[in-house]
């Protein structure tokens, strides 16, 4: 009676220990991978950064429970410059209108309403542009690459490719602005249904390509280990 109960206790424990060991090895591997990514990109964790490495808060709806987010990239901040300048001009415009004599003749009730409409529109433009930048993300996890685009307020595009499906990665940096601020377009050719994933205006494309290369190599090593 005592023996059988002992067996019940001992037998399952052995399996658990093996599982624990496997989990520990997995964690070690992921940590090593993170360290290597940190070496490539550096430590950037601020939520408004164009490149976030191993973010603490960031998450997305389609994420699996076991999936680890390694890198999140947004378009380079300099791409916001055009709408920021336009917004500043729009904010200053009502103050400049005071110097036009005809404007002074407009009754106060109309001018105050006009100014309110003007500032609401300015605010809407700023907000929409910021949202388009903030939610346009390119995510690299330990399993796949994901591109989430919100082109405007009513258009969402989600594309993904497993790391094992990536066939070819190319980048293009063209023009004065892109060369000066080091950002460009990354084309990822895949063997999946979506044959191309494109991420526009990504900062440091060469670093992103290095990370993808590293992850693909790790995948291949893991595959080799599993076969053995």
């Amino acid at each position: 009676m005592t023996r059988s109960s002992d067996l019940d206790k001992v037998a399952p424990d052995d399996v658990v220990e093996n599982k624990k060991e496997e989990t520990l090895t997995e964690i070690k591997k992921t940590n090593n991978l993170k360290e290597k990514i940190y070496e490539i990109v550096g430590h950037t964790k601020h939520s408004l950064s164009s490149v976030l490495v191993n973010p603490d808060v960031f998450n997305f709806e389609e994420r699996d429970n076991q999936e680890e987010i390694l890198v999140v990239a947004r378009p380079h901040w300099i791409t916001n410059l055009s709408w920021i300048l336009i917004s500043i001009l729009m904010i200053l415009a009502p103050a400049l209108l005071k110097f036009i004599p005809i404007i002074k003749d407009i009754p106060t009730k109309y001018s105050s309403l006009g100014i309110l409409v003007w500032f609401l529109l300015t605010f809407a433009i700023i907000f929409e542009n910021f949202l388009s930048w903030y939610f346009d993300v390119f995510i690299i996890t330990d399993k796949r690459v994901i591109d989430i685009d919100f082109n405007n307020l009513l258009d969402k595009k989600f594309s993904e490719a497993k790391l094992s499906m990536i066939q070819d990665v190319t980048s293009r940096v063209s023009g004065l602005g892109q060369t000066m601020f080091n950002y460009g377009t990354i084309h990822i050719q895949t063997a999946a249904e979506i044959s191309y994933i494109t991420f526009d205006k990504v900062p440091h494309p060469e670093k992103i390509i290095k990370i993808l290369q590293l992850l693909r190599e790790e995948k291949e090593i893991n595959k080799g280990e599993q076969k053995e």
Binding site: S47, V57, F58, N59, F60, L116, L120, L131, I148, K156
Partner: protein
């Protein structure tokens, strides 16, 4: 004749003002809905602030309707 013309002009001015404000209110409702959808899809540190801003924008649109009704 001038009074009649003035009355029509005043009516048109008020009507267009209110229609414009209502269209803006619909737009700001779309913004609120969309910010919520975006925040569900991509979760990050500033999502709460962005949702709050979208509601403040909606409040601005409501104030605009109120002003269009009273001022015009």
């Amino acid at each position: 004749m001038i009074n009649e013309f003035g009355g029509i002009f005043h009516f048109l001015e008020k009507f267009l003002g209110i229609v414009g404000s209502v269209i803006y209110l619909i737009f700001s409702l779309v913004v609120v809905k969309q910010v919520n959808t975006m925040s569900k899809n991509v979760k990050d540190k500033f999502n709460g602030i962005l949702i709050t801003i979208s509601y403040i924008h909606l409040l601005g649109a409501i104030v605009l309707i109120f002003l269009a009704l009273t001022i015009l």
